[in-house]
Point group: C2
Chain length 160, copies 2
């Protein structure tokens, strides 16, 4: 598995990963009805660096990195990761997160923050913790899960 | 003191409040060098409702409200408040926050979240706590203060 910067030619495969996850609405606080154009603009916008994890020319996952805040907060980056449903359980997210930690250091970031990890997304929470992230915040009832109702969300943080 | 929706004619007075605070760079994670146009677009953007606190036709403070997240997170709002330096200590921020809590309930929001309260902004932190907000998160070293260096930032949250 190789992780590299996304190119315009990856758009179709990236859309095939992110749209089902956005439509599902269970893990990201994004409008499940957003258009494909809006979704791609969000994931590959000018404020972000976007990467893909590929194997045998197939894109298995994608992530973005951006400064989490401006001004006095721009030394902390934020990332979002999505794995193709057919590639779950193969360590794609772990590989992408490891790549992002290295990339963030090379960019001079001093920390990485996830603003909104849905508490019921336990696999993600455990993975980030195994990669050195701490739960540094808990927002009660901040996410309305499509089937579970109001659940908590976490802020997770790791110094680089 | 009256709090009302901002009108286009308030722009000059709003700019006179927000620009010095942004330029100072000690309390908001915004680019201190951002243009006046960018600052006004940020504060009065289409994604936000913007209000002013006025007395005798003078704008003493301003705040915005927006959904803090989209999709499953859109029932939580986010606000930012700024008071004119000459009107500090007169309860302007408290009055605006009380107004915002009422307005948020009328809009159907279920909670209010402040994503990034700089820990050294102790007056603000105490004020929000006196208005029912809890510190639900602490990001170590997430803000580079212009004179104090790296300091922590808080997530504050209040159910409505």
């Amino acid at each position: 598995m190789n992780v590299r910067e996304a190119k315009p030619g990856d758009s179709r495969q990236i859309a095939a990963i992110i749209l089902p996850i956005i439509r599902d609405g269970a893990t990201y606080a994004l409008d499940p009805e957003m258009s494909e154009t809006a979704a791609m603009a969000y994931w590959m916008g000018h404020d972000k660096e976007t990467f893909v994890a590929e194997e045998d020319n197939a894109v298995l996952g994608t992530y973005y990195m951006r400064p989490n805040q401006a001004g006095g907060g721009r030394h902390v980056c934020n990332c979002g990761y999505m794995t193709h449903s057919a590639a779950q359980g193969r360590g794609v997210a772990r590989r992408m997160c490891e790549h992002s930690l290295d990339h963030a250091r090379s960019r001079g970031y001093r920390a990485m923050q996830f603003n909104f990890v849905v508490s019921t997304n336990e696999r993600a929470g455990r993975l980030w913790q195994s990669l050195g992230f701490d739960i540094v915040g808990r927002m009660p009832g901040a996410f309305r899960h499509p089937t579970l109702g109001y659940v908590d969300a976490f802020v997770m943080y790791r110094v680089l």
